[in-house]
Symmetry: C2
Subunit: 397 residues, 2 copies
């Protein structure tokens, strides 16, 4: 289009299609060919929200007014933020007033709006390696310089204080920490959490903590960084995993009082208000008797699946290296004793063995021979069968 | 925070709270004081989606699987895009394949992602004056230089070809046109539409057309600019007005094949996927027998309300100048024969007379003595009473 004004913004050059979306497309193609695929690639929950909550919501659809359909405040309905505030107190003993909570159109919008609020081009942002694949393109879109800090399987993927220190500088704007972690399943331990907070105070940068899996804990308990550093911690949350409404798009951010009105404004510009129907569900859910019971049941079911996956890995892929996840939905499996390229292995595994996983290279520059296995989406017998096929595929390479 | 890295992005300085949100807050305060307010400020529909559609949706909530709750493709569910494609053919004779439609988290996200895709800092963007108050801050956020083109009440707010030509240059990246218009209710006429398209072709810029009110037409018919210039028209749409689910946040963009994958990518980064529950409603709605009947009924009810508002204005505010809206939900009333400052008048009107309107200065540099009246939200008797109080308040000034 030489000379034309009909071009595009150069900034969007940083954006790439989500890798799991590419896997979804291939999966869709196989489905059209009537081929069954065992889905170990997606972090989609397998248990819908409590039936009583869904039924209460269904009743609201019968009312002939605009009540259920109208705009909500751009920060989210006050009662929903109150219910979240109570939930954070119950779960973690946190004191976060509703005024410091901003509801968003999912965890992705929570992170997008937080980065839009904080990042100037040239700012340095520290992220762990491995980390969730969504953050690097987003940081590049906002012009940040990504500074990876390696975490090692041998250390249980806990960030190492010395390595952390090497990754920060006076240009560090923020550090992003996912806990429980995607893809490794590591839950941050107290010592590492304290090292992060000390460093953030020394260099005066923001801590952005992605707590999408905070209620999916199988061992120990979740550390709320906000409790350790309320002045500098911005917490990203979602209702996609608990109570399992990923498609409905609702999440929230909480953090210090001076930053929240700005994050609210960005969300108002992006989507005007958070989806109201999902807000209604969450209002009912968080204050229902079902809330704590549901999450206990879900954790118990996911823990059993996790144990099935771990046992199957030990049986069918004995040379695999991984940590038993303390939280989240994933096992990050280093296959370097079998293969060197996880990406071509994952493609082969999907096309010839009908098993979808996400290659390690999407999360890490180092663990390129790894794959991420989600243990929540499939029922136990298919989970085990998927891992058996991974072993079979590895034997054939 | 001198010397600290804990600052904010300077770009968000362009963002301001939506002015109708400020009115909402004042309204909320009056409500807490138990004062009734007649709401002529908001473009919120008054008729919920068809009952049969809501009931069908309620049935889905009873099913114990993840089907209703899971992520959807980031472009939106294919069947929903197919239904939209059929709807555009039925409504306007358009041929837009589902591949060229991207579902978004509402019309605001549709515009945000379109501007993110197109705008480089320094690009000039032409907007009419008056225009929807949401666009100027958004354009400034993306670094665009806003070039207003005045439209005049005497011309029925149709853009004038000469004035249009004066506003464009070789740096013009896009022109934004709302039709039927918010705030003026003007529906673009063929002559003005052709002038816009000719100019866009001469200067080779994008046409961004906001068609939020395309089915709310009371006189004549809606002109689809995409039909006249399919290579350069990007159309912004919403389901907030039809079928009246503003809080659920669903809209869509369609346009030329080369631009849509980029807009899709931006939406994926912003919100991952459009809200799925709203997608389900739209899928049922657009393909139901209720679809055309519902919009006919809504248009008939809104037309009656419009006529009530017009008659009341002529009776109680005889020196008011306005065009009878051919579409949308609004009458833009020039009160310059009574007052000079619409903003202080609107505040006075709300606080002392309990009637909420939006001042003209939020839409226009020129029509600062105007107010925007929404005629859809309140029932006819309250609409008339609100306008009677406007006349009373004007007499007292």
């Amino acid at each position: 289009m030489g000379g034309s004004m009909r071009g595009f913004s150069p900034r969007i050059g940083a954006l790439r299609e989500s890798p799991t979306r590419k896997i979804d497309e291939l999966r869709e193609k196989l489905r059209r060919e009537n081929r069954d695929v065992i889905l170990l690639s997606t972090g989609q929950p397998s248990i819908p929200p409590p039936r009583e909550v869904r039924e209460a919501l269904g009743e609201l659809l019968k009312v002939d007014t605009m009540e259920l359909y109208g705009y909500t405040p751009s920060q989210g309905i006050y009662e929903v933020r109150q219910a979240i505030s109570e939930d954070l107190r119950r779960l973690g003993g946190l004191e976060v007033p509703p005024e410091q909570i901003v509801l968003t159109a999912g965890g992705q919008a929570a992170m997008f709006s937080t980065l839009a609020t904080l990042i100037e081009p040239g700012d340095e942002v520290v992220v762990t390696d491995p980390t969730y694949f969504g953050y690097k393109p987003l940081l590049e879109y906002f012009g940040a310089v990504v500074k990876p800090v390696r975490t090692r399987l041998e250390d249980g993927f806990q960030p190492n204080p010395e390595a952390l220190k090497d990754s920060v500088s006076r240009k560090t704007k923020a550090l992003i920490l996912v806990s429980p972690d995607n893809p490794t399943g590591r839950a941050l331990k107290e010592e590492a959490a304290k090292a992060v907070v000390d460093l953030a105070e020394d260099y005066d940068f923001w801590i952005i903590t992605d707590e999408a899996y905070k209620t999916l804990i199988y061992e120990g308990s979740h550390i709320y960084l906000y409790k350790l550093a309320p002045d500098r911690t911005i917490s990203i949350n979602t209702f996609s995993k608990d109570p399992a409404i990923p498609g409905w798009r609702l999440g929230y951010v909480y953090g210090p009082p001076e930053v929240m009105p700005k994050i609210k404004l960005v969300n108002e510009e992006m989507v005007y208000c958070p989806p109201s129907f999902a807000q209604r569900l969450v209002a009912i859910y968080l204050r229902s008797e079902a809330r704590m019971r549901y999450i206990r049941e879900v954790v118990e079911i996911y823990r059993q699946k996790r144990d099935v996956a771990v046992a199957a890995l030990r049986k069918y892929v004995p040379e695999a290296r991984f940590i038993v996840p303390a939280g989240s939905m994933f096992i990050f499996v280093d296959l370097s004793r079998y293969i060197s390229d996880g990406e071509s292995f994952a493609r082969e595994l999907l096309e010839r063995y009908g098993v979808a996983v996400v290659p390690g290279s999407y999360f890490s520059e180092i663990y390129r021979a790894a794959v991420r296995i989600s243990f929540v989406t499939e029922p136990p017998h298919r989970l085990e069968e998927g891992i058996r096929r991974i072993g079979e595929a590895l034997k054939a390479t």
